[in-house]
């Protein structure tokens, strides 16, 4: 192996090095890599007001704004205030997708990745479970079969509960079978292979994939497309979104899945929390516009203020 590799390297090197010489002297930046704020900001050395750690005032202010607003919004929501959520195409498509399964008489596959509930992906799993409750209710109403595959051991009892409840609300409590709740280990590719086999063997009509998928995203999406299933996908792992965008019929891009979960569960406090998050984005937009304005017109640096 080493001889082959070194032979290859020697073969190419001789040709490369000729071109390298010229390349080395060129600058291949289209632009110089200098940003307005590429240099680290000067950080204050003394505690602010005597108690706040230097450089962390802006963090404190932002955290307090969102915490307080979030708390107020949740309280308002519990008192009956509505926080309407904008239309989300991927969410609305779920009805159509369930309908497709009913028409063809073939099952719906709902899968939500693998992992555990105490890592950073817990919110995505919880969103996936929220949307599952909606799907299982629809399936109960319209007489469709849902197969759930996943690799989250702690979620097994929750999924069973959600499915049973969904069929019960839909009026067909007897439609629930334990066999349709399939936990397939936390090992990435064991889970991937098992879910892929499920897509093929059960000839699913609808393939709903919502969760923090990693490399297996493409495997499921491709297999589902080959099986001719209508596909809805959602993930907040940005590295997998392109495949879903290209291969699937509807995609919940990043945070859309949390909004869809709020719509699916109808839980007003979840919607209220989304409202608080929107305030955060609104603050970001306002700061950016203000910062640009000050910088372009007055050459004043707002970024420095945020670094206190």
């Amino acid at each position: 192996m080493h001889t082959l590799l070194s032979k290859t390297i020697r073969h190419i090197t001789s040709r490369y090095l000729q071109s390298v010489k010229s390349i080395l002297t060129e600058d291949n930046h289209l632009l110089s890599p200098v940003f307005a704020f590429s240099a680290p900001f000067a950080v204050a050395q003394q505690p602010i007001l005597g108690i706040i750690n230097p450089g962390r005032t802006a963090t404190l202010v932002l955290l307090l704004i969102i915490f307080i607003l979030g708390y107020v919004f949740i309280n308002q929501a519990q008192k009956g205030k509505k926080f309407p959520i904008r239309k989300i195409a991927g969410f609305e498509a779920i009805k159509e997708a369930v309908g497709r399964a009913v028409e063809t008489g073939r099952p719906i596959l709902y899968t939500f990745a693998y992992g555990n509930l105490y890592g950073g992906y817990a919110p995505q799993f919880m969103a996936a479970l929220g949307i599952l409750s909606y799907v299982s209710k629809l399936a109960g109403q319209y007489d469709a079969r849902v197969i759930t595959t996943f690799g989250v051991p702690e979620a097994i009892p929750m999924v069973e509960e959600i499915m049973r409840e969904g069929y019960r609300i839909g009026g067909r409590p007897d439609a629930y079978t334990q066999n349709d709740v399939r936990y397939q280990t936390t090992e990435q590719f064991a889970y991937a292979a098992a879910t892929q086999a499920t897509i093929i063997r059960e000839k699913v009509a609808t393939n709903i994939m919502i969760g923090p998928f990693a490399a297996e995203a493409l495997i499921f999406a491709e297999t589902g497309a080959a099986a001719g299933a209508i596909q809805i996908a959602g993930t907040a792992r940005e590295t997998q979104i392109p495949f879903f965008v290209l291969v699937c019929d509807y995609v919940l891009i990043a945070e859309e899945m949390f909004a869809a979960a709020a719509l699916a569960t109808g839980d007003e406090s979840t919607a209220a929390v989304l409202g608080a998050e929107d305030v955060g984005k609104f603050i970001s937009i306002a700061l950016i516009i203000l910062g640009i304005g000050l910088l372009t017109l007055l050459k004043v640096n707002l970024g420095a203020l945020l670094s206190i």
Partner: protein, 213 residues
């Protein structure tokens, strides 16, 4: 009393820990408090090993079931899996206890012969999926897709040597796209995920579902 601890204990633990780090990170605190914070993060990190142990045990339990019920077409594989796990555990734990660690020769042979090539191959399968997905999905169905395909092609040409031969400008153009528009495109997602973390923290502070119920 004990039922109160059972139900509210975990949530209270989470709330108290978040408050502790909120205070110690943002405000000046005495040295002993800081040192206690260091202890806490060290413990939380080490506990991660135990989570791995539990995950392994779960996999073994998962494969004992088909072996017991002689599930057709599966139990033989489960048997193979349990056998290789047992061999691996015996050699591995022997190595660790003898002080040689994971470089204990029989264990090293096992992972070099089985684990390393399998791990690399199972990801390499994806090249086939991305190739067929490219043919079927990389289609200019509308303006958005056209945009995606165009950028994809420029980056592809910038990534490979052939692009440089066709037009040397592909390299700086690709570099420009990567450093400026692509950075801008993912920025809202990052800001969103940062806000998401804050919101999760708020929900946890209020004792709402972070995990389980």
């Amino acid at each position: 009393m004990s039922s109160t601890i059972r139900r509210h204990g975990p949530y209270l633990t989470i709330t108290l820990l978040i408050l502790f780090f909120f205070v110690t990170y943002l405000f000046t605190t005495p040295q002993p408090v800081q040192l206690f914070g260091t202890q806490l993060v060290q413990w939380a990190s080490i506990v991660g090993y135990f989570a791995i142990l539990v995950g392994t045990i779960d996999i073994v339990i998962f494969h004992i079931k088909p072996l017991r019920s002689k599930e057709s077409g599966q139990w033989q594989y489960s048997a193979v899996l349990l056998l290789i796990t047992a061999i691996g555990l015996v050699t591995g734990v022997t190595g660790v206890l003898s002080g040689a660690g994971i470089n204990y020769q029989p264990f090293a042979w096992l992972y070099n012969a089985i684990y390393v090539p399998s791990n690399a191959t199972i990801y390499a399968i994806l090249v086939f999926y991305i190739a067929s997905a490219s043919y079927r999905a990389f289609r200019i169905k509308n303006a958005q897709a056209a945009f995606l395909v165009l950028v994809g092609f420029i980056i592809m040409f910038a990534d490979i040597g052939l692009g440089y031969v066709i037009w040397p400008g592909f390299v700086p153009l690709g570099n420009w796209i990567n450093t400026y528009p692509v950075a801008a495109a993912f920025r809202p997602i990052i800001i969103g995920s940062g806000l998401g973390v804050i919101i999760t923290g708020l929900r946890a502070l209020l004792g709402r579902d972070v995990y389980g119920r």
